[in-house]
Each structure stands twice: as C-alpha cells, then as structure tokens.
Symmetry: C2
C-alpha cells in the first residue's frame, strides 16, 4: 500500500546510476543490472519504458546502451514513476473518465484528490540529481527544499 513498485525503484536506481556517471556515453542494461544485482531482463524492459517516455536515449549495437536524455536536474522522480507505473491516483477509483461504480456513494475521493496532488507535487520537486547528490556521506551539500501547501 502506498508503496513504490520495485520497477519504479529499479528505474530510479538506474537513473541515479547514470546521473552519477555523466562522462560515460552510454551504459547497457546489463551493466546497470549487474551493478545492483537486479534482473537484467527486467531492468531492460524498464529502461525501454523510460526511453519511450523520453527520459532516456537508447543506442543499439556494440557499446550501445542508455543515457539520460536531459540533465539529471531536469528529470523528476515523478516522471520516472509515472513512466513506469502509469498515472497514479491515491484513491482506488481513477475519478477520471467514467469514475468507479461507487462514485455516487463514495464521498471521500474528492478531498483525497487534493492529497494526491500534494504527493505528486512532492515527487515532482525531486530530481534525479537530488538523489544522486545525496551520495556524499556526511555532506550538508545542496539542501534542497520543497515546500508544499495542502488546502482542503
């Protein structure tokens, strides 16, 4: 519940890995998978999704692989999660399109939609760069602040 899927986790890990190595031209799915000990084929599929979403650039052939398509600073955690797991709604019903069967009775989704937006906002304010930077063990380095206001 309210938990990132492993896929999203893997995706974030991979992007972070790439962000930490800006000098390299490209890294293969296998390289990254090995670095973290996660299933290579699964990661490959995830990276493909991220490529389709435009977050990565891919290159086939020998010495091919994946590279960030933009600055790490310009890629938000939200985009990654969205690309992998699709749009997320904290409520069970999507509320979009046709809504769920309970729509008339369930009066709770409206306020929760605000919560949903708030969380999305938090995720949007975090970039891959933020994740990568946090490497320096005792650094007080860039202290990124995200301020979110929730108005019910």
């Amino acid at each position: 519940m309210l938990k990132l899927t492993k896929k999203a986790d893997y995706g974030l890990m991979a992007l972070k890995y790439l962000a930490e190595r800006p000098e390299t031209v490209a890294l293969s799915a296998k390289d990254i998978a090995d670095a973290y000990g996660i299933p290579a084929q699964l990661l490959a599929k995830i990276l493909q999704q991220l490529t389709r979403a435009g977050l990565l650039r891919s290159h086939a052939g020998m010495n091919g692989g994946y590279a960030l398509s933009r600055e790490a600073r310009e890629i938000s955690a939200y985009e990654v999660i969205h690309a992998i797991d699709g749009p997320f709604f904290i409520t069970s019903c999507t509320k979009g399109a046709k809504g769920c069967e309970l729509t008339p009775s369930c009066t709770i989704k409206e306020p929760l939609a605000r919560v949903n937006d708030t969380i999305a906002g938090v995720l949007k304010s975090i970039s891959i760069q933020d994740l990568a930077e946090h490497e320096h063990p005792h650094g007080r380095g860039h202290e990124v602040k995200a301020l979110v206001s929730l108005t019910l």
Copy 2:
C-alpha cells in the same frame, strides 16, 4: 502503485460516515456497508481493526455497533491507514529491522525515506473531520492548510 487499498478507502469512508452523524450512539457495520454498497463482512473486519487500534469503540448486541472513540478532529487519515494496512514505507524495502537484500547496492532508499516522511506528514495533517466537512457542496468553509517542508 502508490495507491490506497480498498480496505483503507472503506475505512476512511466509514469513519467519515460516523463523523457526519455525531448524534447517533452507534452504527452497525451492516448499516454503514449498506449505505455505501460495500461488502458488509469485509467492512466489519475493517472496523474491528480500527477498534483494536483504538480509533473506534464497539458495542455488541442489539442497537450495538461502532462509534468514534475520539473527536473526528482528533483522528488523522494517517492513523486510519496505518491501522488498516500497517506501517507504510514508500520504498520497497522497509529499511527498519534488517533491511532488504539490496541494502548495500541500493543507494536510493535514504533520500526516499524523506519523501516517505513528507507524505506521512501530509496524511497526519488531515483529520476525519476535514473529510466530513468537505461535504457542503459549494462551501469555502474551513480551509484547512497543511504546510509541509521537504529537505533532502
């Protein structure tokens, strides 16, 4: 992903329903389930969990049922979700206790733990009362503001 379970949803709906009827002494699981068209037995189990967690008071026998054990204002959405789905961690690994197998390789969970706390904070700042109040269709009524700061 990143979605409330139906159980949590049902739980919130039920508490909201109770909060909207402060005058009633108690409502049975069936009453509430019927009001929303959700499985009565399932809701019963949920209400039992909430009772164990101390959010509700229960009373068996005729005219028995459940009632809020505190002011709606004093019950947060976080407590409800926590009582039903257990502690939540946005990261796949719990990080507590023994952590997951990936611990040494996965360097992403630490920053995400902050995000986790932020979201928990948002949820904690929302009370059942807030959900119930939001009923008045065009009211600009109580505008509850929750300010959350995220520092990576």
